[in-house]
């Protein structure tokens, strides 16, 4: 006997009215959320795509070859990843010691220091970048790599302080004392016991910093141009000057590291580390 699997009546009776309603909402949400992503994905692998068609007329890697053949685009990819790496390394160097102090030592104004890092994120970024721009002009940091790096560092600062601080706090003091007791000095204790135990939280913060740096555009546009054109900065040009299919390829390249890092994070870091990372105090 013929039976239609797509008959919605069967679905309603199978799931019940309420469940079916929930299912519809979920389906709509998925379409809204993933639809544009899927469309972009499709565009990136379309050789030929002309307007009235729903699906591309021809699939292939033509636009990948095209984008990867543009020297300015390729150099912006390299630059973006280089800057993201340096930013992450630098902010680790700066923020890890600061976070350790904030986690382990009680001093007057400790809460205020924690709070001040939140403040930077509480205003529209463009205002902060504009005032930074004025200062950068005066001291000659406009259009320089240090200028761009400072902008990127500031973007990730709150996360890089808060999450490692809480990660250090969650390492019981007695674990460190046990190491001291056994004969390790303060520095050995830090590198063999404290840091490895706080590592999941620090790793998450580093990933966010890396992703944040890859995506940073306002500040880079303001401070870096014309010498430092990262991927998101190039994106503005790509959207205006290239066909949509080239833009999709470029956007996908920007997306790959984010997706990769998110997968890694899901695999190695639980939601607990994340939620603990944002506690203040």
């Amino acid at each position: 006997m013929y039976m239609s699997y797509l008959n919605p009546k069967r679905w309603v009776h199978m799931m019940g009215r309420k469940k079916f309603g929930e299912f519809l909402v979920l389906a709509a949400f998925m379409l809204f959320f993933y639809g544009p992503l899927l469309h972009m994905f499709m565009l990136a692998f379309a050789n030929k795509y002309e307007m009235p068609g729903v699906l591309p007329q021809e699939f292939g890697f033509q636009w990948w070859r095209y984008v990867l053949a543009q020297p300015t685009l390729v150099s912006s990819i390299v630059l973006s990843f280089t800057i993201a790496l340096i930013t992450t390394a630098l902010s680790l160097l700066i923020c890890i010691p600061a976070a350790y102090v904030l986690a382990r030592y009680e001093f007057p104004g400790r809460k205020l220091v924690m709070f001040s890092f939140l403040l930077g994120n509480a205003f529209p970024k463009i205002g902060i970048y504009a005032s930074m721009g004025i200062i950068f002009y005066r001291i000659g940091l406009m259009g320089t790599l240090p200028g761009v790096l400072i902008v990127h560092l500031l973007g990730g600062m709150m996360l890089m302080i808060w999450m490692p601080t809480n990660a250090f706090k969650s390492v019981p003091r007695q674990q460190e004392e046990a190491a001291r007791d056994i004969g390790a000095g303060p520095i050995r204790t830090f590198f063999y016991v404290t840091l490895p135990m706080a590592w999941p939280g620090i790793a998450v913060a580093s990933m966010f910093t890396f992703i944040g740096s890859l995506g940073e555009n306002q500040g880079t546009l303001l401070v870096g141009l014309p010498n430092y054109r990262t991927m998101p900065v190039e994106m503005y040009g790509v959207i205006l000057d290239y066909p949509a299919t080239a833009g999709a390829v470029f956007a996908l390249i920007l997306l790959i590291p984010n997706v990769l890092l998110l997968f890694l994070m899901r695999k190695y870091v639980g939601p607990e580390t994340l939620s603990k990372g944002f506690k203040m105090g």
Binding site: E177, A178, A179, D181, I182, G183, M197
Partner: protein, 329 residues
Amino acid sequence: MSGNAKLEIRDLTMLYKTGDGVRNINLAVEQGELVTLLGPSGCGKTTILRTIGGFLQAASGQILISGKDITHMLPEKRPTAMVFQSYNLWPHMTVYENMAFGLKLRKVPKSEQKRRIAEMLEMIKMSGYEKKYPGQMSGGQQQRIAIGRSLLLQPDVLLLDEPFSALDAKIRSQMREELRKIQTDLNITVVFVTHDQEEAMALSDRIVVMNKGSFEQVGPPQEIYNRPASRYVADFIGEMNFIPMPDGSIKAVRPENVSVSPGTGGNLDGYVRTIMMLGHYIEMTVDTDCGIVKLFVSAEEAEQYKRGNPVALTLGESHRYNDDQSAAG
């Protein structure tokens, strides 16, 4: 104090900002002796232990180990090893790595590390656990490893801070026995901190009963139990009946030193209040004019009593304390 003490504390004072802490502590522990610091939480017992370990700084006084002043030494330089209540194995290291860490710092050759760790695991009955992570083991197993990790470094003095209080009762008493055996086999000097008087009685060569930052009584378990120096000690160690006397002093009698007979005409008369089965003996409470008195009777003996029966109590060995808590004889 005797000159050959392994650990000697001289006039030690260590105060917190709040004003709590310990004042003018003097204690000498002999080689191979197990001394327990016993008291309720907040009495300063852990403070003393942590000061010996180097995690707290003494305000004044001296700590000597084998005659050498260690009062101002960093914890990593002291010949002490500490075992904490919460095990404190490093969760990112295997059992073997946990145990090897201290040996590595002391530059013990790899082959000898291996041999010594294998021997230690054998002694604490944990052979075969080398590759396990702490999270894969029970609390009791983790604490064994923690003790083994400390013993491996052959400390002059082993410090134990309520090491068994996070374990359940059965494992706790088993660990006690094993610790006592290892301690006597190796003849190591141990300072043990606990709030559990039963544990202190079972383990110690000597007990220090502490109250509010100072010593109430120091002595072997038998002496502390049979001749408590103050009402505080009498109350803290074992069970005790306190009976107010007409002259204002207080008579203290252990339940096992009270005997009971039907009727009246004892040192103290009253009525049976409760009869409670506690295994091989029966606990009886008696309502008297001087309050409730607790005593133990055998199961056969208990059969003749019912709730509300009049009974006569005979008080055996007793102590007398004045209300100001000092011993009156």
